[in-house]
Each structure stands twice: as C-alpha cells, then as structure tokens.
Amino acid sequence: MSFFNALLEHTFLQHALFGGLLASLACGVIGSFVVVRRIGYMAGGIAHAILGGMGIAYFLGQQPMSGALISALIAAVIISRVSRVSKHGHHQEDTIISALWAVGMSIGIIFIAKTPGYNVDLMSYLFGNVLMISANDLLLIGLLDGGVLLFTLIYFKQLLALCYDPEFAGLRGIRIEWLNTLLLCMVAITVVILIQIVGLILVIAMLTLPAATARLHATTMLGMMILATALGMMITSGGLLISYNYDLPTGATTALSSGILYLVAALIPQRRHAVK
C-alpha cells in the first residue's frame, strides 16, 4: 500500500503528520532562540532533570507529568537566576544545565529508592512516539504553538535584544532577568510537552537542528524562524514517508534525517572564503 493510501486510511498516520507539522512550528520558533542562545543542551538536560520532579510527584502520589512540568519550570528559573549572577555576566548555561541534569536525576533516583512500593519506570515517560499521537495531543501541540507564537509576537523585539546584547537590553529598561526566565520557561514547557508526545530524541533533533541549519543561511532571527519551521515541516513529513516506505522506526528516521541535513549543510563550504 502506498504511503498516500495508507495516510488516507490510518488516522495514526494522519495524526503523526499533523503532529509533526504542528511541532515543527513550536520547534522552529523556540529552537531559533535555543540556537542563538547556545542552549541546545537544554532539551537533553531538562529531559533528564525532570526525573527529579517526577520522582517527588510519585512519592507524593501525584501525577508524574505534573511533577515533570513543575520541575522543568523550576529548572528554567534556576538556570536564568544562576546565569544572571555569574561572575562576568556571561551566560555559561551549559554548566548550569549540567548541574541541573545531575541534581534532577539524582533526586529522582533517591526518591525512587526511598519510595516504598515504588513501581514506575519514570524514564518511560520520556519516550513518546510520533506514531502514537492522540487527538488530544494534537490539541495540546496546537495550544503550545499558539502560546509560543503569541509570546514571540508580543515580545519579539525585547527577546531579540535580550539574546543579542543583554547588557544593552537591560539599559533600555527591559527587565532582562524576568524576560530571560520567561524565555527559558517557554523552552522548558516546549520540551516537556513534546517529549511525552514525540519522544526525547526527536525533541532534541527538532529543537536544535532545523534552527541550526537555518542559521547557516539566514541573516535575521525572523528569517531563521521561518526557515527553521519550513525545514522542520519538510523533515517530519519526509521522515514519516521514508520510515513508512522502508519500514523503519519513524522517530529515529526523522531525527536521523534532520541530523544528516544539518551536518551536511554545515560541512558544505560556505560561499564566502572560509576562515581557516
């Protein structure tokens, strides 16, 4: 059966397609910030850090996912707060994210060890699958898209200034700590929501790689966001098609395509004479 017939027939394929397209939008926009702020690490870090919140939630008899969301937000606040007071005003988020990765995961493990009758594989919450997107999930990604777009539209000029030159932005009266926290929370929410819907690998791939590929060719943030979204859409639908035709795992195929696309684009000599 050809892919297109299958698509007409199976709702799960339709959901996968729409889910991918919708996710591309959120990832293209948020991912552009992630790339210029050099926090590609964030997706992987948050994904592991939330184990702490999930462990605590489980210990308290709550929904693990609510724990995940809360701890992701806490992590975002900590990252923003620590990078603010760091010695030279430089953002060295990679270290703070490592710290949160270690702390979050450790807390999770300790709570698991100390919870009597513990029997949940918290890690399994990290692995959503793009082929198993429900209609509710589609709605959720749609809402995420809406939130991301609204946030970006309203604060675009401040966000741009924040990412470009935080010192100057602060001098122009922008409450940079607050905005930075908001931006990181946005990233954290995107990561948490998408992880359980499309899975960890795909989130890492989608959040950084289309935007990074776009950056190689865009000269403005806006251009980068649009190109990243378009690339993301191409990749997710292409990944679905390829994985269907060659009988491969969809998530992995999509992530692989985006990775290869980025690496190839980055390795192709730029038009200008490369700096040695």
Binding site: F12, A16, Y118, N119, D121, S124, F127, M132, D247
Partner: protein, 283 residues
Amino acid sequence: QAQTTTLNIAVSVAPQKYLVQKLAGEHAKVRVMIKPGQSPTTWDPSPREMARFATTDLLFCIGVPFENIWLPRLQNNFPNLKVHDPRQQIALRPLHEHCHHNETHRAQVEPVNSTLDPHIWLDPLLNIQMAENMLHALVKLDPTHQQEYQQRFEQLRLELTQLHLEIEALLQPYQQHYFMVFHPSWGYFARRYHLQQMAIELSGKEPKGAKLAQITQQAQKNGITAIFIQTQFSQKAATTIANQIGAQVISLDPLAEDLPLMLRTTAQKLSCALEAPCPLSSH
C-alpha cells in the same frame, strides 16, 4: 544452632520473593534486587544495600536483561556470592514469536541470538517447577530444615495447582482468542491458557509505520477489545492505539509480589475484556 540462623536470600524480581518466602518461611529473609520499574539508568543501590550481598547466602536469578550486565559485576565484587538459576527443566520460549502477523512474514531463520522470554513466573505451573528448583537449592544450603522446606513446597504446589485450575476454568471459553499487550510479557501465560498474545512493541522495538498499520488492522480483525499494559510504563501510547481500534486500556502488574493474587486478577481482567462484545463492526 541451626534454628537460629536465618538465610539471606536475594531474588531478581518481586514475584520470586513470594515463592522463596513460601518455601523457607521464617528461615529466610528475602530481598528483591530490582524494584519493579527500575531501569539500568535509575538503578543505583546504597552502600548498605550492596554490603548486604556480602552476607547473602544465595541469589536466585531469572534471566531478565538487567542481569546480563549486573550479575557479572556483582560477582566480581562478591566472589563468594552463590547465584542459582531456578530455570532448569523449564522449556523457555523465545520472547518474540513470528506467528502473529504471519501473512507478511517471509520465512525467517530463527536468529541465533534471539533472547529467551524470562517471564516464566506468569505461568502457575512453571512456577511449581521453579519452586522445586529453588527447593533443591535451599536444601543444599540448609539441609537441617529439609523436612520443613519439603512440606512447604508441597503446600505451595497445591496452592499453585489450585490457582492454575481456577484460571483455566475462567479462561476456558476464550481459547484462541487474541489479547493485545504493549510489551510481550504474557507469552507463557498465553501458552498455558491457549490464548493468543499480540504485542504492539515488536521485540522491544519502537513500532514502525507500516508495521503499526498492519497491527491495527490485525487487531481489528482479531476483535481486540482491550490492550493490556504494564503499570510500570507510561500509558500514553497504549491509550492512543486503544482509541484507534476502539479498545480499552487495562493495566496489569506482572511484577507484583503477591503472585497468586496478581495472576488471578489478570485472569479476571482478561476474561472480562474478552467477554465484551466484538467491536469488529464499529470501525
């Protein structure tokens, strides 16, 4: 002096604890090495927990993948630790059977490294065999209480046989019916009661587009009304598939310590689910 010693026994998974405790009674302190839901990523013992292996008299393994990695390391640190495999005389089945989605399957050679299904504790009768093997090991370890262990084993055998008959009766009407699971843990159970297990996850691998399409079609054809998932795992994916094929999601806990209760509950839930009207026409 023998009366005062208690044996320190370690087991791989919780259901084994039930068997050992039944066999040894107050003579053994049994602890479970891997808590249900712990994965290699999150398994991180405390030093005291580790130190207890120094005084562990016997460890019963079961063949879960976890052991491949950790047992050698454990034995490395505790060279005197005795490990006993209670699976002798049990015909192990491969975890992945090829017969379910037969029409698309090319004749495939059974691969050499195909893993064997470790979930033997989900079949009451295999449990009897496992308990008997455990009995021998216990007796060898502590011959003074042989009599007592032997007696307790007979009792356990009775209890498990009883359980078997009960479940058999309960599931009798549904022979050759299909039930759907996420992870294929229930192979031995299905074999025993002549049911057909259909797994979404193929050999523990992420389902793929074309395969998934076949599985959903197959599921509808086979009149699947329920998908069983393991309480340890997130239910999201199963829920989505269940919605697709109009089935309900039922959570089972194959790692519960109270083995008879768990098997009984499973059988009941199964029979309920298989009882429901066939949803073939609805989709």
